[in-house]
Amino acid sequence: MRDIALVAMIFGCVPVILRYPFAGVLVWAWISIAVPHQEAWGFSNSIPLNLIVAGATIAGWMFSKDRQLPPTHFIYWTFIVFLVWVTFNSFFALAPSWSWEFWDRCWKTIVLGLFAAAMATNKVRLHALIWVVVISLFYYGVKGGIFTLTTGGQYHVLGPPNSFIGDNNCLALALLMVLPLANYLRLQTRRKWLATGTLIAMGFTVIAIIGSYSRGAMLGLAAVCLAGLFRTKHRFLYLALVTVLVVPVFQFMPASFHERIQSISQAETDESFQGRVSAWKVAYYCARDYFPLGVGFYGPQRNAVYHTYLPGEEAHAAHSIYFQVLGEHGFIGLGIYLVLIAAAFVTSTRIRKLTRGVPGLEWNYQLASMIQVSLIAFCVGGAALSLAYYDVFILNVALLLPLLKIAHATVAARRAVKPVVDDLPGALPATA
């Protein structure tokens, strides 16, 4: 039944996408982030829904009137350089057929980000895209929160199988990243019931994050709470709200949860943490021995590679976005990746400075601030998780391009009007 509904919806959307290509970006983002076909459990898994929507979007964009490339900003070129580098790398991967399979996911994510950056030319489109991202992940967040409460927190909250967020740790990080974006929507919506509903869904999502038992996500949650504290005007209310929500949930969780969280302070004896350290070592050795290329997508975690360095140990995933890129794409790949992250922080700070206190651009300021908090969650939580090419991260960075463009255009338009007023005979001197 779910399969029929999903396939009917996607095929029903195709004519709409050809007419309105940005609708294609929305559906494309939904399929990439929520992976609804993995939740349908049937024949829709064998249909390349993502490719169909992507194809319709690209075709619609090519024939649309507002066909344009993304703003040519430093971030845009960094994306292009990164895509070229990982593609070049895949030709020389230790197991090319294995590497190309993951490259196929990565290029689609980056192209989706660039299409979103090119076509999100106004606030309504940006707003709609953020809603799609939030709905896609709140689907798992609300469900996971209810699951945690009804089962007494005994079981781990997991994501959809065969996806970036299938693992409990990765799902928790994704949910963490979406909280600031949901907060932006809550601040921007005119409907009070929708703002309240969003706040409740955020509460359930926090419970789901805790119910994932992910220690990396706990550190990320702490970072988000701290970053949020510096972004809000109502600090006392914020602290009270966080305390009222988080403390009872921690009390509610069973002893197994507390034991797992306490193991963060016993890193030297914790087997799971030592496994991560081993995976980081393998990633470094791969980057060193295969300089400057690395061993290709998800190469270091293959038994053949892992056991070359640590024979007898169980092969682990990289468990860190930084070591993941280092092992897979070498020092140069990691360098480009870090430049991309740094550029995202610099650009979001620039947008915040540019739009602070500018009437009509408060939304721009809020969105840049919330994207920044989402990126902080990614950088902190991702230090212990393999989610380097995650769609929400790519979209977060890509959306800074139209956001900056809109901010520049609006501020420039105001400056262009101002001298005319000042030059009028008898005009009063400026007081501010």
């Binding site: 509904a5 929305l26 606030k123 309504v124 689907y139 929708l194 009509g360």
Partner: protein, 61 residues
């Protein structure tokens, strides 16, 4: 229950797509529908203060 939740998520996406097509290019206060956005002047400082500072001929006299 799970299927209902799945269906709701699908409907929510359709609502967002429809809202985007209907409101594309409109200013904040011109947006309509479930996802209508707050007017820019009502953000930040709050609508009350914005209304209080509204220009009036009485101020000139």
């Amino acid at each position: 229950m799970n299927s209902l939740w799945y269906g709701l998520a699908m409907i929510a996406i359709i609502v967002v797509v429809h809202w985007m097509i209907t409101n594309d290019g409109r200013a904040d206060d011109e947006t309509t529908g479930v996802l209508a956005m707050k007017s820019a002047t009502k953000d930040g400082l709050g609508g009350k203060r914005a209304k209080r500072k509204k220009f009036s001929l009485e101020d000139v006299r």
